[in-house]
């Protein structure tokens, strides 16, 4: 089995949850990179990334499993779940025969490892996890989303991820 497949399929634990960052002044983005471990060993460069926007409570949240090829340099995203994204949903390339090819998916969707893995090439497909599946039953809260992420990413202590410190602003 290819090492990236092994990472994707393994049962994982968050070694340490570092907490959400302060919002970036330019973008209001809040994030964390939590190291992941397999069988008690923290794998180098292997993290769960979480992200959201300070003034967008209960929407536009992303969870992604990534690994660095070389520490601190090139990263390879392995799988991602987008929840209530503000970026217009998602479209898969119009590849003949692929499921959900060429159609627009909703704002909540799952970029699975298998869809984005190129088995013959032994690598991820080009782009940034550009294939995704719809998530039929949209999580109704951050807590439900967190549970879904834990199941789909096989992260057995996902509940250590706290609810972000969102701020509320009126839509005037």
């Amino acid at each position: 089995m290819h090492p990236l497949q092994a990472l994707a399929e393994a049962e994982k634990l968050i070694s340490v949850f570092p907490g959400w960052s302060d919002a970036e002044p330019e973008t209001d983005y809040m994030w964390f990179d939590a190291p992941l471990e397999i069988g008690g060993v923290t794998e180098p460069g292997f993290v769960l990334h979480g992200g959201c926007l300070r003034y967008q409570p209960e929407r536009h949240v992303v969870f992604e499993v990534r690994v660095s090829r070389t520490l601190g340099r090139r990263c390879v995203p392995l799988m991602r779940i987008c929840w209530r994204s503000l970026k217009g949903g998602h479209t898969n390339p119009r590849r003949e025969g692929a499921e959900f090819c060429g159609v627009r998916l909703g704002s909540t969707h799952f970029h699975t490892f298998d869809q984005n893995w190129h088995a013959e090439g032994g690598r991820m497909r080009a782009g940034n996890l550009r294939m995704a599946w719809p998530i039929e039953q949209e999580p109704q809260s951050f807590t439900e989303l967190r549970e879904l992420v834990g199941k789909r990413f096989r992260i057995n202590n996902i509940d250590v991820v706290t609810v972000p410190n969102w701020e509320y602003r009126l839509d005037l």
Partner: protein
């Protein structure tokens, strides 16, 4: 006639429905978000955030292009690329986003410019990442060719060769044996890499009796998809991890 009329109506309806979906806007968290009909490398739509600013309305990509780069560990490439793109479109850029403040009457143009800028920044950096893949194959190739061909492999500073057009092409490696030159060139899966190699090989083959052997070296033929056909029309194609005999046979 009836069928044609019916089809025509259906196409018109489909066109209207699709056009209505191409651009969408929503208000959320005190800002307006506009989704445009161009795609980031993750398959999401280029999205802009609009807020009130001192000098009118601020149109910003809100760091969405930056996030695309950060996902592949290329966040540090944002500032330089964004500055160059922003300058050409008369926009501003900071460490994470590209934006402009405009009066309301310039809003449509500003949305187009910031949208294109955000897309271009992501596209440029992703294209460069593909070129880095080419460099990785090239490093590997050099080691393999040294092992297979020894002293017949020319030094790296002699890796330039002129084609029939008199253009000089820089290639990954040149082997010279029995009075015949063989050009090896590392090719990534990116379209630019394939097209550039194809153009170089066609130009070299146009030298006719003086033409060298031309061999493209790729990670995986199947991973090239339909681009494999373009390479195969121009020269021999081998995979980097094939046995030494394949390298020798291709160069014979």
């Amino acid at each position: 006639m009836v069928v044609l009329a019916s089809k025509s109506k259906s196409v018109a309806e489909a066109a209207e429905a699709a056009a209505a979906e191409l651009v969408s806007v929503r208000r959320a968290g005190g800002s307006s978000f506009i989704n445009l009909p161009i795609l980031y490398p993750d398959g999401s739509f280029v999205t802009l955030k609009l807020d009130q600013a001192a000098k009118g309305i601020r149109v910003s990509d809100n760091g969405f292009a930056y996030r695309e780069l950060e996902a592949i560990g290329a966040g540090r490439s944002f500032a330089k690329t964004a500055m160059s793109v922003a300058e050409s479109l008369d926009l501003q850029a900071d460490r994470r986003s590209v934006y402009v403040d405009v009066p309301e009457e310039q809003l449509v143009r500003a949305i187009c410019d910031v949208g294109i800028a955000s897309w271009q920044i992501a596209d440029r950096v992703y294209s460069r990442a593909a070129e880095e893949d080419e460099a990785e194959i090239e490093d590997y190739l050099r080691d393999r060719l040294t092992k297979v061909f020894g002293s017949k492999l020319k030094a790296p500073d002699q890796n330039k060769i002129k084609g029939a057009s008199t253009s000089e092409w820089e290639v990954s490696a040149i082997v010279e044996q029995n009075g015949k030159r063989t050009v090896f060139h590392a090719v990534s899966n990116h379209a630019n890499s394939v097209f550039r190699t194809s153009a170089a090989f066609h130009d070299l083959l146009a030298l006719q009796e003086r033409a060298p052997n031309v061999i493209a070296v790729v990670r995986s033929k199947s991973a090239l998809g339909s681009k494999f056909g373009i390479l195969a029309q121009a020269g021999k194609v081998i995979e980097e991890e094939q046995p030494d005999e394949v390298y020798l046979k291709a160069a014979a």
